[in-house]
């Protein structure tokens, strides 16, 4: 008799849990690299049925159907995936397509693409609720904030002994000319957070002449978008751009490769690790946090 | 009747045509002769309103040419230019058929007229061919058929202006074409034709206008205009003037 009651209670609880998770969206479409990463970090990868062109990380997302560029979404294409929810930033468009999706019963959740902690907090809270992982979201958030604080402390300490290095971030588009990250980009934010001085004075990504780059004379160069890694990338860059070899960074060989998917769409989960790597590169003689420390 | 009254045409500072007073009476063929640059084509352009006139007047049936509404004018005045830049693969029938556009005579009648005009220009056998596949001479005959079709069958009150219609034709066709033009005039139409060949002009024209440097050198019947002195003065060519043994018109033989 007791067993039966226990089973009944368990069954009830189970059905409650089941119906509770039924209320959560099960089929997710994500338009934004950072958002996709967070969904995966919160354990929601199995719920993703479609991602946009900027969702390149983790690599397993490549096997999902692609919905194209976030500002040129196709209503019928997305509807064919039978999604319950579409997450993305206010950049999504065109507006008539979003209207059509809403009319078809797809929930559209707008997240912030701003590169600051309050925006991240907002996003994580929302995503946590929608995925039924509120606790984990909170945990990720506090860990993130903690790491950023640690990061800031390390930088402050390093700065006491060494000046901030001049840093340029170069974006290379397969064969095209190099573009320099300007002062309002996420790249600039990351450089500053890692204790460097971002040299781009313009806004957005713009080509800068070789002469100007020589005048800026960066001490560290960050290279995004190269197909090569490590030494090979550095050598290729300096070979193809001999002027850069004349800068301090070129002469000292301080060229780092950085994953370009980190540079779009707001703060993603990999940012603290990247900041740690950058700081280590910016202040090679100071004691810094290693990428593995801090969870 | 098309008339030009005290015509003066200037291009920039240059006077290209002056002192022109001519009439194109019905049933008569007026030939316009002169060396290159004498103003023949300018005269034709002025007479059909293509060229702005500096002074003087061109009138059709006592009304200024410019005052005529387009379609009305097209039923009375047809112009054959020296060359055509048609670059599209119309059939010969379609090209000649365009001559009927100013009229509202209906498809059946139009088709008949097109055939008759093609026959007059000795081009009926070309009717179904593509215009672009024709030789220069054949194309010229097709355009002649077109302007004939525009005024078909030719009657008093209609005027035909032709700019060197025989320039690309072989000797036989030169004659057939000009005979067709004469037949047109016989039915009452007025014709003005620019020619280079003096003998053709002598044979087929009722009146001749000899131009030199934009001025009329002589105006009258062929026997009066085509004199050795006049031709030497205008063309710088020494000639002998004989009479055609069968027809009696002047025969010009270069020395």
């Amino acid at each position: 008799m007791r067993k039966k009651i226990l089973l009944a209670c368990a069954g009830l609880l189970f059905s409650q849990l089941a119906s509770a998770s039924d209320a959560l969206p099960q089929r997710w479409v994500s338009a934004g690299g950072a958002f996709s990463e967070w969904v995966v970090a919160l354990g929601g990868e199995s719920k993703l049925v479609g991602v946009d062109s900027t969702s390149q990380y983790p690599r397993s997302l490549h096997s999902l159907p692609g919905i194209g560029y976030q500002r040129a979404l196709a209503a019928e294409g997305i509807l064919a995936l039978r999604p319950d929810i579409l997450v993305g930033s206010s950049e999504m468009g065109p507006p008539p397509v979003l209207e059509q999706l809403k009319a078809s019963g797809v929930r559209i959740e707008l997240l912030s693409a701003k590169a600051d902690v309050p925006a991240l907090q907002q996003n994580l809270t929302t995503l946590g609720q929608l995925l039924g992982q509120q606790n984990q979201a909170q945990a990720l958030l506090s860990n993130y904030q903690q790491r950023l604080q640690q990061q800031a402390a390390v930088v402050k300490q390093a700065r006491q002994q060494h000046p901030a290095p001049r840093v340029l971030l170069l974006l290379s588009h397969s064969g095209g000319n190099l573009q320099v990250a300007g002062k309002d980009t996420l790249a600039a934010w990351m450089i500053e957070q890692a204790g460097g001085q971002s040299l781009g004075e313009h806004t957005g990504y713009k080509p800068v002449s070789s002469e100007a780059m020589l005048a800026l004379d960066p001490q560290v160069i960050l290279l995004a978008g190269s197909r090569l890694q490590g030494d090979a990338a550095r050598n290729a860059l300096l070979e193809q751009n001999p002027v850069l070899a004349q800068t301090q960074a070129g002469r000292d060989g301080r060229v780092l490769v950085i994953d370009p998917t980190l540079l779009v769409g707001g703060l993603g989960p990999r940012v603290p690790d990247t900041l740690a790597t950058l700081t280590a590169a910016f202040y090679p003689h100071a004691k810094t946090l290693s990428a593995e420390a801090g969870q | 009747m098309l008339e030009a009254d005290n015509l003066l045409v200037r291009r920039g500072q240059r006077t290209v045509l002056a002192n022109i007073d001519i009439q194109l009476p019905p049933g008569q063929v007026l030939g316009v002769l002169g060396p290159n640059g004498a103003g023949k084509s300018t005269l034709l352009a002025a007479l059909c309103g293509e060229l702005p006139i500096t002074e003087g007047n061109v009138s059709l049936d006592q009304r200024k040419l410019a005052d005529w509404p387009g379609q009305e004018r097209a039923k009375r005045l047809a112009v054959l230019p020296q060359s055509s830049s048609l670059n599209f693969a119309f059939s010969v029938n379609e090209v000649v058929g365009m001559g009927r556009l100013p009229h509202a005579s209906g498809r059946v009648r139009d088709a008949e007229i097109v055939s008759e005009a093609l026959a007059a220009a000795d081009a009926l056998h070309l009717a179904q061919r593509s215009y672009l596949a024709l030789s220069g001479g054949e194309r010229q005959r097709v355009h002649l058929a077109r302007v004939l079709a525009q005024l078909w069958p030719g009657a008093e009150g209609q005027t035909l202006l032709l700019d060197e219609p025989t320039s690309m034709l072989d000797p036989l066709h030169q004659h057939t074409i000009l005979q067709a033009v004469r037949d047109f005039a016989e039915r009452g139409a007025a014709v003005m034709v620019i020619l280079h060949d003096l003998n053709l002009a002598a044979r087929y024209c009722d009146q001749l206008l000899l131009l030199q440097d934009g001025l009329p050198h002589a105006y009258g019947p062929p026997s009066e205009v085509l004199t050795a002195d006049a031709l030497a003065a205008v063309y710088g060519l020494q000639v002998l003037i004989h009479q055609h043994p069968e027809r009696g018109h002047p025969l010009i033989i270069a020395r």
Binding site: R71, A72, I78, L79 | C48, G70, F88
Partner: protein
């Protein structure tokens, strides 16, 4: 023989092909709707109350997504093809393209100003934002064409050769303007601009459709009435004058028709190339140069071809979409090379 086929059967065939393509455009798409549901939804659109299994979804897909898109495709394809015929008649050259009078370049510049200017100013009020792009593109096309036309005018006459050169120059200037705005744009805006330049029927809605439909219907009704005049114009301007046509007025009408038609099409769907060049050319090979047949044939073929290209655009990479300008170029360019090889141009 100049025309390969007789006109009436050809027009009938083209009409049937268009109906078939319209049907395909409504029946096919990334969402697989059973044919029965599509049929019922279609009948519901015209008022018959029929219930089906997936009524609401079918209504949405067919009525809100595919139908406006199909209508947009028909209007844009027809207008671009008709304008192509008009320009090939105006310039008396089978290689002419509506862009020669500068309307495409001007529209691109207008769009660039709207897209980039809007973001530079910090965003536009939501009420007018959807319309600003279309209005600016349309205005840009009209203004540049007006300038080109003005350059071609002297002494009350329009010199077509001068207009051609002016069109080339103004298109280059508009391109420079677009380049400048490209430089000023931030990355998101840049991608928007790029996609607009490639053309798309995506996001079609009845609301944005009706201005274009009005213009398209006007052009489609008006141009065929000028068919005889266009034929005469091909003989030459003075020949057409001697046949009794007011050539100056016709030239103005042709330019105006192209500016309004192409301007509206570009404003609604972005830059879509090759339809205006390839369709009239192809139709001329099939039905001959007589505009009385060429105009309706080009209208039908242009609409059909664009709908076909759109089908490919939205099915090939589903759920994403290929910009339609890419597909028309991929169809148009090889075809053009084929024509060159055959020596028909």
């Amino acid at each position: 023989m100049t025309a390969i086929v007789r006109p009436r059967p050809m027009l009938l065939a083209l009409g049937l092909v268009l109906v078939l393509v319209v049907w395909l455009s409504l029946a096919l798409g990334p969402v697989s709707l059973p044919l029965g549901e599509t049929l019922k939804a279609g009948l519901r659109l015209i008022g018959l109350p029929l219930e089906g299994d997936a009524t609401q979804q079918a209504d949405l897909i067919l009525g809100q997504i595919r139908m406006p898109r199909t209508l947009l495709g028909i209007a844009v394809g027809a207008v671009l093809a008709l304008s192509g015929v008009a320009m090939q008649g105006l310039f008396r050259n089978p290689l002419a393209d509506p862009g020669l009078v500068g309307v495409s370049g001007g529209a691109a510049l207008g769009a660039a100003i709207a897209i980039v200017g809007g973001s530079l100013v910090g965003g536009l009020p939501a009420a007018i934002e959807p319309y600003v792009l279309s209005v600016c593109a349309f205005a840009g096309g009209l203004i540049v064409t007006a300038i080109v036309y003005r350059f071609g005018r002297s002494n009350g006459q329009t010199n077509v050769a001068t207009m051609l050169l002016a069109g080339v120059a103004m298109t280059a200037m508009a391109g420079a303007g677009v380049g400048l705005f490209t430089y000023l744009a931030d990355d998101a805006t840049l991608r928007t601009l790029t996609f607009w330049n490639l053309g798309s029927l995506n996001g079609a809605s009845y609301q944005r459709l009706w201005p274009l439909l009005i213009v398209a219907v006007a052009v489609a009704l008006w141009l065929p009435r000028r068919a005889a005049a266009l034929n005469a114009l091909l003989l030459g301007e003075s020949e057409a004058r001697h046949l009794g046509f007011d050539v100056e007025r016709i030239k103005l009408e042709l330019v105006l028709c192209t500016a309004l038609g192409v301007g509206a099409a570009v404003a609604a769907a972005g830059l879509i190339g090759f339809i205006g060049l390839v369709v009239p050319h192809l139709m001329r090979l099939l039905v001959g140069p007589d505009h009385r047949v060429l105009l309706p044939a080009s209208l039908l073929a242009g609409a059909g071809l664009l709908l076909l290209a759109d089908l490919i655009a939205r099915l090939l990479l589903a759920p994403a979409e290929l910009p339609i300008g890419i597909v028309t170029a991929l169809i148009g360019a090889p075809f053009f090379l084929f024509l060159l090889v055959r020596g028909r141009t």
